[in-house]
């Protein structure tokens, strides 16, 4: 009897460990493979030059710049909208049928496939609003895709600010907005920023939403205005992997490595912000 229990314990332990390894191993395989094969491609020229000879030589500079534009554009549109919506839902809206419908809508929005966002952006921004295939359309599409995550993360951050802080502020004669802007938001901001960076870094790696709204196969010059198309790393990767024959594989690996590094840097920033403020946090 006693032996059985010990045996069960060992089997369970082994199974749990196995499950964990199944999750972790692919991460290391992917990272290792990309770094091993892509590192050779990384050079100053690769990072700062335009592609040449039909993508078979040169660098990926325009795609890097394009992805940065899109990340910035997404942040500009998604951050205020997401944060303000979360503030409204947490601090102003009373529990009602409407807020419940909004809750359901946000959850469902988070589950919409990214290609659907792409088609939606094509329909609304590119065609209907006549923004054309442009950085503006692409940023707005990515922003809408990031919104549910930003709103959800912001609401969690706002809800984690103790109710007593609000009551203290109100009791001292502050209006609701004074309370929100001076007490609630400053204390919720690290959580909000962390969630927002993670959401936007995900958007940076998406291909489908930018496919119809902004991404260009190849541009001879960098975009000049919001209404220009731009190249972007995920789309560039897709193009060189499927449309360009006889490409040296290290260019693909190099492009992947740059994309992953950019996303990694954003995620690390988020982790750093969270760790930094958790240490400072007193409640």
């Amino acid at each position: 009897m006693k032996l059985d229990a010990r045996l069960t314990e060992k089997v369970v332990f082994f199974l749990l460990l196995l499950a964990t390894l199944v999750i972790v191993v692919p991460v290391f395989l992917i990272a290792g493979l990309i770094v091993k094969n892509g590192f050779a491609a990384l050079s100053w020229e690769f990072l700062t030059q335009s592609p040449r000879l039909g993508m078979r030589a040169g660098g990926i500079f325009p795609a890097i710049v394009g992805t940065m534009y899109l990340v910035f554009g997404t942040a500009v549109f998604a951050l205020p909208a997401g944060i303000f919506a979360a503030v409204y839902l947490c601090e102003y809206a009373k529990e009602s049928r409407l807020t419940r419908i909004i809750d359901v809508a946000i959850v469902n929005l988070a589950g919409v496939p990214s290609v659907v966002y792409g088609l939606f952006g094509l329909g609304l921004f590119v065609v209907f609003l006549k923004f054309g295939t442009s950085i503006l359309s692409g940023s707005l599409t990515l922003a809408i895709m990031s919104l549910p995550v930003i709103v959800t993360a912001s609401r969690e951050a706002l809800n984690s600010v103790p109710q007593s802080f609000r009551e203290v502020s109100l009791a001292l004669g502050a209006t609701r907005w004074q309370t929100i802007s001076r007490v609630v938001l400053p204390n919720a901001l690290p959580g909000i920023i962390t969630g927002a960076i993670l959401a936007i870094s995900r958007a940076a790696g998406e291909t489908a939403p930018i496919l119809f709204t902004v991404a260009a196969f190849y541009l001879p010059r960098l975009p000049q205005t919001l209404f220009d198309q731009c190249m972007a790393l995920p789309y560039h990767l897709y193009v060189i992997s499927t449309q360009v024959p006889n490409l040296k594989p290290h260019i693909q690996y190099g492009t992947t490595l740059v994309l992953i590094l950019m996303i990694l840097i954003m995620n690390l920033t988020a982790v750093f912000i969270r760790a930094h403020f958790r240490k400072k946090k007193q409640w």
Binding site: V168, G173, Q282
Partner: protein, 255 residues
């Protein structure tokens, strides 16, 4: 003879309060006189805290809250004639648990005055020293005003909260069991501060500690399951109350 100092500051008339379908206060009517300390005693769930939260409208954001009756401050209906933030500035509250904001001692007290437009450094410094002295905290913290307020002891935090409330110069201060988490020495300091504050403020003290009401309040009201059983001079409540239930409660026979 009408004594000028004992005129009614706050008048509650036929107040009923509900949270959803739960009735927490029934037909409450009483008046609070200027510069008195009114003690409110009663067992748990007698509606004391709900009363305070109704008086300074902290219930406003609670969707389940509903009320009828009137509350007037200096003759003005606080629900019909005043904006909530205007009212709350005049009606400060000290909560049961000390609630410093995650700021320094200095910034905690400066929070209120800054809200209301005091930016001048000298003026702020003056307010901070004056209010900390009034709450008997100055000597303990004067050299470390930049320290996070959350690092203070519970008793110090509660006195900081009193100083913070004083800093917005309210007319009435509500205390919601302010000493429930404090040791006897801290409690004594808070009570001493309250006694001295009667010169400038009208104070309402909700307490679970009947002895505390006996020590500090001028008059005492006894609440039981949402009703005001009796309100009278503290001495009478504790010696010759009119109602048998009051007598039972103050003598410790129930509750």
């Amino acid at each position: 003879m009408v004594d000028e100092t004992s005129k009614d500051k706050l008048v509650v008339k036929d107040l009923n309060v509900r949270y959803g379908t739960k009735e927490v206060l029934r037909q409450i009517s009483f008046a609070v006189r200027s510069n008195e300390i009114l003690g409110i005693i009663g067992p748990a769930n007698s509606g004391k805290t709900s009363l305070l939260r109704t008086l300074n409208r902290l219930n406003d954001n609670d969707a389940a809250f509903s009320m009828s009756g009137t509350v007037t401050l200096d003759g003005q209906d606080i629900y019909k004639k005043m904006a909530p933030h205007t009212l709350r500035r005049k009606m400060g509250i000290i909560f049961a648990l000390p609630t410093p904001l995650p700021l320094s001692i200095y910034e905690n007290i400066a929070y209120g005055p800054k809200l209301h437009g005091t930016r001048n450094k000298t003026a702020l410094n003056e307010i901070i020293e004056r209010t900390l002295r009034a709450s008997f905290l100055w000597d303990e913290v004067k050299d470390r005003l930049d320290m996070p307020a959350m690092k203070l002891s519970g008793g110090q935090q509660q006195r900081l909260c009193i100083a913070r409330t004083l800093a917005v110069e309210p007319e009435i201060i509500l205390y919601d069991e302010p000493c429930s988490g404090l040791d006897p020495i801290s409690t004594a300091k808070v009570e001493e501060a309250m006694t001295l504050l009667t010169k400038q403020f009208t104070q309402i003290l909700v307490t679970n500690n009947t002895k505390q009401a006996a020590r500090v309040s001028d008059r005492t009201a006894f609440f039981l399951t949402g009703e005001l059983v009796e309100i009278d001079e503290t001495q009478r409540i504790f010696t010759v109350p009119c109602d048998q239930r009051t007598e039972d409660y103050v003598s410790g026979r129930f509750g």
